[in-house]
Symmetry: C2
Subunit: 424 residues, 2 copies
C-alpha cells in the first residue's frame, strides 16, 4: 500500500455550523429538511443540452456576465485614449484570458489585416528590412509567460484610497503565454555592425495606430528578452492587444509593449518622445521628474476577499488569495497581514515564482467575523521587499502617477464586506 493511500482525517470545515452537522450544504439540508437539489431529479438531468455545433467559438456562461473588463468614465476625457481594468477580483490561477485582459489605447484599437502588416527595421543597421507577417513566422519562435502592467496601475492610490475594488486599484495587469520571435533575432537579421558600439545605442519602436505611441528602449534590453509576439495564450493576439503583432518587454511598463508594431529604428540615443517625457515619468516632491523608470517593482494585491469579492459564506475556514509579481525576476515569498501590517503570516505560493510572470498565493486560514485590515507584501529574488504607502511617499512624494507598488489595505468588516482604506 503506497503512502498516498493512508488517509488523514482533516476536519477542515470544522468552524462551520454546517460541517459540524455533517453536512455543508444549503439551509434546507442543515435544518433536516431534504434538499430538493439532492433528492429530486433536476430539470438539467432530463433534457439534452447544447450540441457540439452550438458555439464554434465559446464565450463565458451568462451567469458570469459580471466578470468583464470595466472602465471608469471620469478617469479620462474619452474612451479611445483610455484604460479599462482586468476583473482580477473574480479570477484565480495566473493566466489572464485575452477576452477580459485590460486594454490601454492612445488612439483606440485598430483593425489591421495580416496581409496589410509590415514591420520596418531601419536606422543604424547594415541592411534596412521590411518584414511581412509571413516573414516573421519563418524565424525561430519562443514561448514565455509574462505579466504586462500599465505604469499607471494603482496610480490613484498616491492621492489616497479612492477606487473601491482590486479590479480598479490593481487591474491594469494581465499575464499571458506569448509566442513570438526574439527582437534580437530581428535586429541581427538587419545587422548591427553599422551601429558600432552597442552600449550607447537605443531602439525606437512605434505602432501602426494614429498615436504611434513611440518609445525608446536601450539596446541592452532590446537584445535581451524582448519578443516580437504574434500569439497570446495559444491563439492570435486579439485586436485590442495589437493584432497581428505586438512587442513584449518583460518586466517593463506596459507602455513599451507597443501594439500593432510597425517600425523598429536603431538610433544613437533615445528619442525623448511625448510618451517618455510629459508622460511615463515620475514627478517627485520637489517638482522635478525622474525618467527611464521602466521596470515594474515587486508588488502584490489580495484579490479575494476584496471590495468586489466579499466573504459571503459563514465563519470558519477562509481562503485568502491574491497575485504577486516583479519586473526584476521571480517572486520568492508573499506575506499576508490581517492587522494592517503589525503581524505577518507567510502565504503559500501555488507554484514557485517565475521570472516576470504573475504568481498566485494562498493563505488558508480561519475567520470568525473579526474585522481585518488585510495586506499582502511581496518579495522577489533580488531581496527587494514591497514597500508601504508611507515608505513610498517618503521617497517619491505625492505628485506621481506611475509606479505605485505600495502595499494595499482592504478593511474587511464583520459582515464580510471589504473596502479600500489607508493605514499609517
Amino acid at each position: 500500500m503506497s503512502d498516498i493511500l493512508k488517509p488523514s482525517r482533516r476536519a477542515f470545515l470544522r468552524g462551520s455550523a454546517a460541517a459540524a452537522a455533517g453536512l455543508t450544504a444549503g439551509a434546507a439540508a442543515r435544518a433536516g429538511t431534504p434538499d430538493p437539489l439532492i433528492t429530486e431529479i433536476q430539470p438539467w438531468a432530463q433534457v439534452f443540452g447544447d450540441g457540439v455545433d452550438a458555439t464554434p467559438y465559446g464565450l463565458p456562461i451568462e451567469y458570469e456576465s459580471d466578470v468583464i473588463r470595466r472602465n471608469v468614465e471620469w478617469l479620462t476625457a474619452d474612451t479611445t485614449s483610455s484604460i479599462n481594468f482586468t476583473p482580477i477580483h473574480a479570477l484565480d490561477g495566473t493566466i489572464t484570458p485575452q477576452g477580459c485582459a485590460f486594454e490601454r489605447h492612445h488612439s483606440g484599437a485598430i483593425e489591421l489585416r495580416k496581409q496589410d502588416y509590415r514591420l520596418m527595421v531601419n536606422g543604424l543597421v547594415d541592411t534596412p528590412l521590411v518584414f511581412t507577417y509571413d516573414d516573421l513566422e519563418r524565424f525561430p519562435r519562443e514561448n514565455h509567460v509574462y505579466f504586462c502592467e500599465c505604469a499607471a496601475n494603482t496610480g490613484m492610490e498616491w492621492a489616497g484610497a479612492q477606487l473601491n475594488g482590486a479590479q480598479f486599484t490593481h487591474g491594469m495587469i494581465h499575464n499571458m503565454e506569448y509566442t513570438g520571435v526574439s527582437l534580437r533575432t530581428i535586429l541581427n537579421e538587419a545587422g548591427l555592425g553599422a551601429a558600432g558600439d552597442l552600449a550607447d545605442k537605443w531602439v525606437y519602436v512605434e505602432g501602426a495606430d494614429a498615436s504611434s505611441n513611440g518609445r525608446s528602449i536601450p539596446m541592452e534590453k532590446a537584445l535581451d528578452d524582448v519578443l516580437v509576439a504574434f500569439k497570446a495564450n495559444g491563439e492570435a493576439l486579439r485586436k485590442e492587444h495589437g493584432y497581428p503583432v505586438r512587442l513584449v518587454v518583460p518586466g517593463w511598463e506596459g507602455n513599451l509593449w507597443v501594439k500593432w508594431l510597425r517600425r523598429i529604428e536603431v538610433m544613437d540615443g533615445p528619442v525623448e518622445s511625448r510618451e517618455e517625457t510629459s508622460k511615463y515619468t515620475d514627478t517627485l516632491e520637489d517638482g522635478t521628474s525622474r525618467k527611464w523608470t521602466w521596470v515594474m517593482d515587486a508588488k502584490s494585491v489580495i484579490t479575494s476577499p476584496s471590495p468586489q469579492a466579499p466573504i459571503t459564506h459563514g465563519h470558519g475556514s477562509l481562503v485568502i488569495t491574491g497575485l504577486a509579481w516583479s519586473g526584476h525576476g521571480a517572486i520568492t515569498r508573499v506575506d499576508v497581514s490581517k492587522d494592517g501590517g503589525v503581524t505577518w503570516e507567510t502565504a503559500r505560493l501555488a507554484k514557485p515564482g517565475e521570472k516576470m510572470a504573475l504568481t498566485r498565493f494562498y493563505l488558508d486560514t480561519e475567520w470568525n467575523g473579526e474585522e481585518m485590515l488585510l495586506q499582502a507584501r511581496a518579495m522577489d529574488e533580488t531581496g527587494y521587499v514591497q514597500p508601504t504607502k508611507d515608505q513610498l511617499r517618503e521617497v517619491r512624494g505625492e505628485n506621481s502617477i506611475y509606479h505605485n507598488n505600495c502595499i494595499q489595505t482592504w478593511h474587511v468588516m464583520p459582515n464580510g464586506e471589504a473596502e479600500n482604506v489607508e493605514v499609517s
Copy 2:
C-alpha cells in the same frame, strides 16, 4: 559591454529571394516599386480605433474566424452525444483558450447555476457530505496545467488516413491551467476510515447531465493528483467545459474528467458502467477487449505544416512545429523526420516538458520545395517512445477505436500543400 551586446549576423532568411534583395516584404518592394503599405500613411493610422468600452469581454478579430472548433457531421448520429475538435493547426504555444477547446458531450452541454450546484460524497465514508459551490471555495486550492485528451483522439487512424487535418486527427485535446481542490482533500473531509483497506477501493464519479457519464477510478489515483476544478485559464469553467465544477484526472482519458460533477461515491469495486465496458475499452485482433486503459500514452503531432496549415511562403527557412504530451509524465524529447521515419532530427522544446501537460516543439529548418513525409516522435520521462502505426497494429490489431498514439505522417508536396498519408 555585456555579452548580450555582441551582435552575431545571421542571414536566417538567406534562402529567400526577397531576403537576398535585402527586403523580405511583398512583391512590390521586391520589384523595386515602392510598397504603398510602407510609403503611404495608412487609413488605420488616420482614425481613432475602438474605445475601451467597446468589448467588455472580447472575441477574436474577424480575420481569425476560421480558428474555431469544428465537428464532423458523419462521425456521430447527433450533435448532443458527439465531439468537436480544437483548431490545433492554427494555434501555437501550449495554452488552449477555453473558447476553442474541444468538447465531448454525452447528452449535451447543460446550464447549471452555482447556487443550484451540489456535490455529494457518499458510500464508504465516515460522514456522507453534500457541498455547495461556496463550500468548495473554502478548501485549499491548487493550480496546475494539464492536457485533457479524449481516448478516441486519432481513433479514425486505425482504419487508415481518413481525416485530412491535424484538427480532425489530433484535435480532441486541450491544455489549460486549472484551479481547484484536490479530490484527496474532499475525500478526507468525508473521512475514509470506514473504507478500511484503501488498496482495493474505488471511487465512482458522475455528472449532473442526463447521461451522468459515470466512471470508476481506483483509489490510488483518486488520492494522488485528481482535482475538483472550478477555474480554467484563470476564469470560471465555460458551460461546455462543465461549469461550475468538473473533475480533472491528469494524464488519463478525457471521459474520466466528469463535467458538472455531482457525486463521488467510495466503493469496494468498480461499477463497470456503460462508459467502461461497451465504451472506452480496446477491442483487440482476437475480438476480446482490454479494459481499464486509462493512461494516455506519449504522443505527438506536427501542427504546421499540415493539411490545414500548408506552406504558403517561398523556399528557404521554414519552422516546423507541433505538440507532444504523455499521460505518464513529462516529455523529454521529440524527433522530427522529413522522410517518413528513415532519418530523424531532434526538435527544440520551447520549454522543458512538464508532467501531463502539452509541450511545444520547433524544428527550425530549410525547405526548397522538396516533397516531405513529415513525422514527429515523442519520448517521455519513462523512456517510452511513441510507436509507429505498424507497431501499434501489431499489438492491438485494427478493431480498436481508442488509444491510438501512433506516429502521424503528413505528405508535404512541392506546392506546400499537405495531406494525411500512411507509410509502412
